[in-house]
């Protein structure tokens, strides 16, 4: 009975690490995080949050790319790209920036620029060798994420895209909390069609609702494969439970689009090239462009609503 009390009940009764009751509710007794929550250390200090808000004042839109599941292909496309996947930073390789380093100036850390209008920051740029493992517990990862937000001089930015690791843990809580004073436009959630992915993505959707993060919509990636030789279409990851479409209907979220599997995508990422530029005629490119447009429309529309 004591074991059950410690465990399964606490899942339901946890008041939430960001709530006023954090660390103080009855269900908090015996929880290993109680000390952290009660001291307010589970969430950031309001002065720090305000400092981050001031730092990011020149950012017009902020979009979080989430999944819940790993390996589903979270893609990013705009002006400032922040990679907070500390253990598995993929962005430097995908942008052709391996080996680049971060420089410092009086105004802070300079992002690494792919193009004049596309700056990137990732822990990948801070490693001595690309195979170095970062074996850090939560608090140290949180500290680096805070530095990325506080010390990077992004300048004027139309879109800040934040790529996240799989899951619903320290990195996700931290980014939402540190940006609580800066407006996050919303989250784009990525999945693949099979139930084993959807299962994790439903949790991610629940995470967004729990922390009041608006959901821009869901992208179903690796959705079908058209053979370039015979043109036959196959479902490599069959949507045995209706895929993202059914999940979105059930959970009342937008399906932004479906992107088919194209081996050129993986190849372009490995080579650090832009897939959209390398394969403009691919059905995947058309899907990406439609999805990107819908995300832009969402952000612009909500910008107007905010002004009004």
């Amino acid at each position: 009975a004591a074991l059950a009390a410690q465990l399964s009940l606490s899942l339901a009764d946890c008041p939430g690490t960001g709530s006023a009751q954090a660390g103080r509710a009855a269900a908090c007794q015996g929880c290993p995080n109680q000390g952290l929550c009660a001291a307010g250390a589970a969430g950031p200090d309001p002065a720090e949050v305000a400092e981050l808000q001031a730092r990011l004042r020149a950012v017009r839109h902020t979009v979080l790319v989430l999944s819940g599941k790993g390996g589903v292909g979270r893609f990013v496309f705009q002006v400032a790209l922040l990679d907070i996947d500390i253990c598995g930073p993929s962005i430097p390789k995908m942008m052709g920036l391996e080996g680049e380093q971060v420089h410092q100036s009086g105004s802070g850390w300079s992002p690494v620029y792919v193009e004049e209008n596309l700056g990137v920051m990732s822990v990948g740029f801070l490693l001595s060798s690309p195979d170095d493992a970062i074996i850090w517990r939560g608090p140290k990862k949180n500290g680096l994420i805070k530095q990325f937000l506080r010390d990077v001089d992004w300048g004027e930015v139309d879109y800040l895209i934040v790529d996240t690791p799989p899951g619903t843990s320290d990195e996700h809580l931290s980014i939402v909390q540190y940006l609580s004073a800066t407006r996050i436009d919303g989250a784009v959630i990525v999945t693949t069609p099979q139930e084993v992915s959807l299962q994790d993505v439903r949790k991610e959707i629940n995470f967004c609702r729990k922390v009041k993060l608006p959901i821009i919509g869901v992208v179903e990636n690796m959705s079908g494969f058209v053979c370039p030789k015979c043109k036959n279409e196959s479902q490599i990851f069959p949507p045995t439970t209706g895929g993202a479409e059914k999940m979105c209907q059930n959970l009342n979220v937008s399906l932004l689009g479906k992107v088919p599997l194209d081996p050129q995508i993986g190849r372009s990422c490995d080579r650090g090239q832009s897939f959209l530029a390398e394969a403009p005629e691919s059905p995947a490119t058309l899907s990406y462009r439609n999805i990107i447009q819908r995300i832009q429309e969402y952000c612009e529309q909500h910008q107007e609503e905010k002004i009004m």
Binding site: A1, L3, A4, Q6, L7, S8, L11, A12, T17, C31, P32, N33, L36, A42, S67, G68, K69, G70, G71, V72, I86, C87, G88, A133, I134, I135, W136, R137, G138, P139, K141, P165, P166, G167, T168, S169, D170, H172, L173, T192, E195, V196, S197, Q199, D200, R202, K203, E204, I205, N206, F207, K210, V211, G266, R267, C269, D270
Partner: protein, 161 residues
């Protein structure tokens, strides 16, 4: 010794399935490995330490099962055609399958320690430990908790790109 008197005393070999990268098929391989070893006449258990995205219960069609307790701790859920593979996962402890486990490191670490020491595994030839992507809290805590025992080694899973 401590090792002799614990719930892992009857486990002959412990192996970890790791990757770093997500979505490459760790849980699939853990499941297939367990089923194949069982088919070969071995006694097998699976410990699923992916707390945010536990996939094993669904893969073995036991996502609706519940966990019970005995004097030595938690009783694993027995799965497979002959109900002979022992499984422990946070998936069994959720009120609803879509509940997100939104925990920071210390709470995850505490549960992993309990999963390692408080599950009554009994006598097993193999205990397969399925992990989440990354190299963080879950991985550090799992390896630390398993160090006193027969840790055979790790199988690493990747995809070609």
């Amino acid at each position: 010794t401590l090792a002799e008197r614990t719930n892992l005393a009857g486990v002959r070999h412990i192996l970890l399935v790791l990757s770093g990268k997500g979505g490459v098929g760790k849980s699939t391989i853990s499941t297939e490995l367990a089923l194949a070893l069982r088919n070969a006449g071995k006694t097998v258990g699976i410990l699923d330490v992916d707390l945010c995205g536990p996939s094993i219960p669904r893969m073995l069609r036991v996502q609706d099962s519940a966990v019970h307790q005995c004097d030595s701790g938690w009783v694993p859920v027995f799965v497979g055609q002959d109900k002979a593979i022992a499984l422990m996962s946070i998936g069994f402890l959720l009120e609803r399958p879509d509940d997100a486990v939104v925990w920071r490191g210390p709470k995850k670490n505490a549960l992993i320690k309990q999963f390692v020491t408080d599950v009554a595994w009994g006598n097993l030839d193999f205990l397969i430990v399925d992990t989440p992507p990354g190299t963080s809290d879950e991985h550090i805590s799992t390896v630390e908790a398993l160090r006193p025992y027969q840790l055979l080694g790790a199988v690493l899973v990747t995809t070609p790109q």
